[in-house]
Amino acid sequence: MQSTDTKPNGPVAAAFIAAAAACFTLGLLVVLNDANADISKALDFSKNYGLGSGVGPLSGKVAVSTIVYVVSWIGLHVAFRGKELPWRNVVIATSVLLGLGFLLTFPPAFELIADTIKGGA
């Protein structure tokens, strides 16, 4: 419930969850890029779509993450506009996505997960 006479928290919840979703997407793509050569080639947007010159798979990782950020923010903003959400749930969703994002971009973690995926394939 809204604790005081202020604007509803929905739009801020949308911004927070979208940012965390973008961080998680980036982490996921870092793992997939390391685990699968075909995905790595597909993520080379600099070669495939001319996004930058010589950037390599990083171009795809950041482009897709940014698209996820913008699209999810717009979608969540429309869904949450004018609503007062349970803030604890927003914090949990943001924390989980953000925590995974940070973990999956940490080299020892993403290399271990990618090696496990490669080993199991």
Binding site: T6, P11, V12, A15, L26, L58, T105
Partner: protein, 182 residues
């Protein structure tokens, strides 16, 4: 024109803009924003003080978000390709190929395998988080003082944005020291 400008190559100038100029602006914006955000409590400031701090907070968080985007865009699409450039066959002098130079020596390979691999990814979390923070501050404005739970969450994301940029900046400086883009 100061003499050192003439002494810098185009690559060094871009590295300077990416790392030092934008980095310094980011730090300044973070410092101002953090102080304003932390002290934005009714018990600490007068009503007039709240208005003034909110204006400073809006400015600080907006500048931080814009600078974060500019930093990662220039870093990824201008400086990074020079860092990771492929070495032409027969080249023995790796001075112009920082990544190749680092990984060619076991003593310096970790600067790329750990440092750059972490830096190039974690850096992009800074603009995502800083933009969310700037939006929250712009959206609530002075009302943020009455939403303690949201102010605390904004503070955490604000610090995390700084940590992400800090890790990237620190490794950027250290990697540049080990193998400069020149």
């Amino acid at each position: 024109m100061p003499e050192f400008f003439g002494a810098l190559t185009s690559r060094e100038t871009w590295a300077l803009v990416h790392g030092m100029t934008l980095g310094a602006l980011f730090l300044l914006a973070f410092g101002g924003g953090l102080a304003s955000l932390y002290s934005l409590r009714a018990s600490l400031v007068t009503e007039e003080g709240v208005q003034e701090r909110t204006r400073r907070l809006r400015l600080g968080t907006t500048v931080m978000a814009v600078v974060a985007w500019l930093t990662v865009i220039t870093g990824t699409f201008i400086v990074y390709p020079w860092y990771r450039a492929g070495v032409p066959v027969g080249t023995t002098d790796l001075t112009d190929y920082p990544k190749a130079k680092l990984v060619a020596d076991a003593a310096t390979a970790a600067w790329h395998n750990f440092g750059m691999e972490w830096k190039e990814h974690i850096a992009w979390m800074a603009p995502f988080l800083a933009t969310a923070v700037a939006f929250a501050v712009a959206y609530y404005g002075v009302q943020l003082i009455r939403r303690g739970e949201i102010r605390r969450a904004v503070l955490v994301l604000f610090v995390l944005a700084f940590v992400a940029a800090g890790v990237a900046g620190l490794y950027g400086a250290l990697i540049t020291k080990a193998a400069p883009v020149a």
